[in-house]
Symmetry: C2
Subunit: 430 residues, 2 copies
């Protein structure tokens, strides 16, 4: 289907810069607070943040059935619950009003003053009140790497991995927005050959390059979502850094799953890029054919274009401002599609709500320069990397700012996610 | 400290029956809907449900600082967020008004009509909007049994188990209130010796006898809760049946943790019994001494009375009405206290919010008649049990109603949790 807001030829009167992540074809959604302490839902075009609360109050959505306060909220949950039809109408209307040919807001200085802000003058907040946060484990390269490094006796991927998108649940209470600093966590570590743990700050703080999708209310208790309908319930995507303390993880993981090693923080990017905006970058799932050999029917998709071409990059920014590129990867290499993840999650009747967050798992490519974690890049510290300033890293140091970027680019143009950043601060005394 | 509402000598004009789970010394909190479709927070005395929204509106809490609509809510989260001091004042005031010596409400027929309902005439709803649901794994007997039955190559408890209260996170979207029917879930199962799974309804639906506690907002992001302060943040407890599909579990668990095998449903009892009400039943943690040998300081409690003497029972009620007692256990046998669980969960800075739910894990005792799951009682189906009607059970059949009961009883009297029930219905066609 054709989505009006995605028109690649549209230009906006607001910002002519088409090189950035937020041209008028993107129209993502986020929550911000202005200098005057107004919290609102907004969108972004170029270097401008648009207050959708004010935009709606001033009548610019007047033909769309929306409650009065739908954008005057501190989370997108209620808007997300309105469903895909509403999201489309809203994006299309925003595109129309900011189109260079449309003068209605462009020529109204009074309205512009209360609707449009310099993006550097607002503070981005967590865009959703996270319901459940379920973490998938869907990159085969990552699963292989982890099995080799971490799986103790077993160097092979578990046989169940190829038959279903394995997942575990994570704490939503510590999902934080990009830019929030993180104190190095305290916890238990086991030294090699020892059976008694020691207490202290983690010495192996790692990033995990991930994406995540956010759902609307998808199903009732007890009702599975068919795999070919699942995308209807996906609002959009964000970048995610699922911070991990690898030393804690090694000691705690068996017989359950990572818990304290991940629950100290998970960072997401502030602007949710809608699945609609990503439509021009839809591509084949490169695993479609191998999957089909063995898939149970509830995971079989009729289309083989179930992936999205999203280029991903990780960096460490050191205190001197150097930007050190760690790796480059792509979301399209994921083995299990988001639809398969959602179909599997709900096949047992598990309900999914507006504001639930589902992450991809670390998105590693086939080679070292495409690995999504330092655990993989440095082989658990055995092969440290050297940064521009000459210092070495096995894992993340205090004061390192970890940056994830993601964008889509093809002949239709470019849209992106902006940045997902987080800096590690020294541990507290306890 | 002495809690006025717990006075064992108090009698209520409302209900003289002291044999039931809800004497005036209990004063639990729940959410119900009346025949007139009014949703309210309430408490229970004997066979009566008390509408606390109406009670407050009519001025019976007039000396307590409460917002007007604090009880006119569909969840207890906001009241829980008010903190322990408020919970105590509210319980004390309810005890006072319903004391047999107090005529203020007793003699006001008009007020009684809008405040007091027959408990059978209201429908109990889920009492909280569950934030995160973290499942601990804190019964040593259960951990041992599971290792023997389930752990494939390894028949010993993992060495980390004795050093920290291991946990995994679970879906909060499918936490349901007692009395909600559950369709037998669909999913993947692996047959012995096979490497390719089959699809279908679970053949091994099991109960898990658990309790859970509910927290108030306890800490800020990055700040651990000291173990000796943790109880301040526990609002109360419920009974829980953490339903499990053992065939799904066996196939999916490695290398992560149970997910689809548990996320189809978790049932909790409707009345939250406050930690204050449980105070007279506080007792020694029987594991205190062995724990002390090896505990890291952040898990060491100054008191050794960190357990609560809560008697627990499980039953299968067959369609003919027979009540078959499966097992009897006690919460006090748990290895890790709730305070230790909360201290461990937050040591890495993980934040805890009002409405978060933390479960105990299956509460098995040392012998077969005290095991908290059919997996343990029947040794994964190898030793089926025979019910009163002569039928056998390895796991739960369709139409079986699984009932968990829990109560405290000593020289001070008895309080209880009522029932946590759920019936398994046939799987859907898919």
């Amino acid at each position: 289907m054709k989505i009006a807001a995605n028109d690649p030829n549209r230009k906006s009167w607001l910002n002519g810069n088409t090189e950035c992540d937020f041209p008028i074809q993107n129209i993502p959604f986020g929550v911000f607070i202005t200098k005057d302490d107004i919290i609102t839902i907004g969108t972004r075009i170029g270097e401008y943040a648009i207050d959708l609360g004010a935009f709606h109050q001033l009548g610019y959505f007047k033909d769309i059935a929306l409650t009065d306060d739908i954008f005057m909220q501190d989370s997108l949950n209620d808007f997300i619950a309105d469903g895909r039809k509403t999201w489309r109408l809203v994006r299309n209307r925003i595109a129309e009003v900011f189109d260079e040919k449309n003068s209605i807001l462009r020529d109204n200085a009074e309205h512009r003053d209360v609707i449009i802000f310099d993006v550097n003058e607002v503070e981005m907040l967590l865009p959703i009140d996270v319901g459940d946060f379920t973490g998938f484990f869907s990159s085969k390269h990552h699963a292989n790497n982890i099995s080799n490094i971490f799986n103790f006796k077993n160097t092979e991927i578990e046989s169940n991995w190829l038959h279903m998108p394995l997942a575990f649940n994570q704490r939503s209470s510590t999902v934080i927005v990009s830019g929030t600093n993180i104190k190095r966590p305290l916890g238990q570590t086991i030294s090699d050959g020892k059976t008694t743990p020691i207490f202290g700050a983690s010495k192996k703080i790692d990033l995990e390059l991930e994406t995540a999708f956010i759902t609307t209310a998808a199903n009732h208790f007890g009702e599975p979502i068919p795999v070919n309908e699942a995308e209807e319930y996906i609002f959009g995507m964000v970048l995610m850094n699922d911070w991990s303390a690898r030393d804690f993880q090694k000691w705690e993981t068996k017989p359950l799953s990572p818990a304290a090693s991940k629950s100290f923080a998970t960072t997401i990017s502030p602007w949710i890029v809608t699945l609609d905006a990503l439509e021009p970058y839809r591509c084949e799932n490169p695993n479609h054919e191998i999957q089909n050999i063995q898939l149970l029917p509830y995971l079989k998709q009729t289309s083989d274009k179930n992936a999205f071409d999203i280029k991903l990059q990780t960096f460490i920014e050191t205190e001197n401002g150097d930007l050190n590129n760690l790796s480059e990867s792509n979301f399209k290499d994921i083995y299990w599609s988001m639809s398969q993840q959602l179909a599997h999650l709900t096949i047992n009747g598990c309900s999914v709500r507006a504001g639930d967050l589902m992450s991809s798992g670390t998105l590693s490519g086939p080679t070292k320069d495409s690995y999504g974690s330092l655990l993989e890049i440095t082989k658990d510290g055995e092969e440290p990397i050297t940064l521009k300033d000459g210092t070495k890293r096995s894992f993340v140091n205090d004061s390192d700012n970890v940056i994830i970027r993601g964008y889509c680019e093809n002949e239709q143009g470019r849209i992106g996610f902006g940045k997902c950043t987080g800096k590690i601060l020294p541990a507290i005394e306890f």
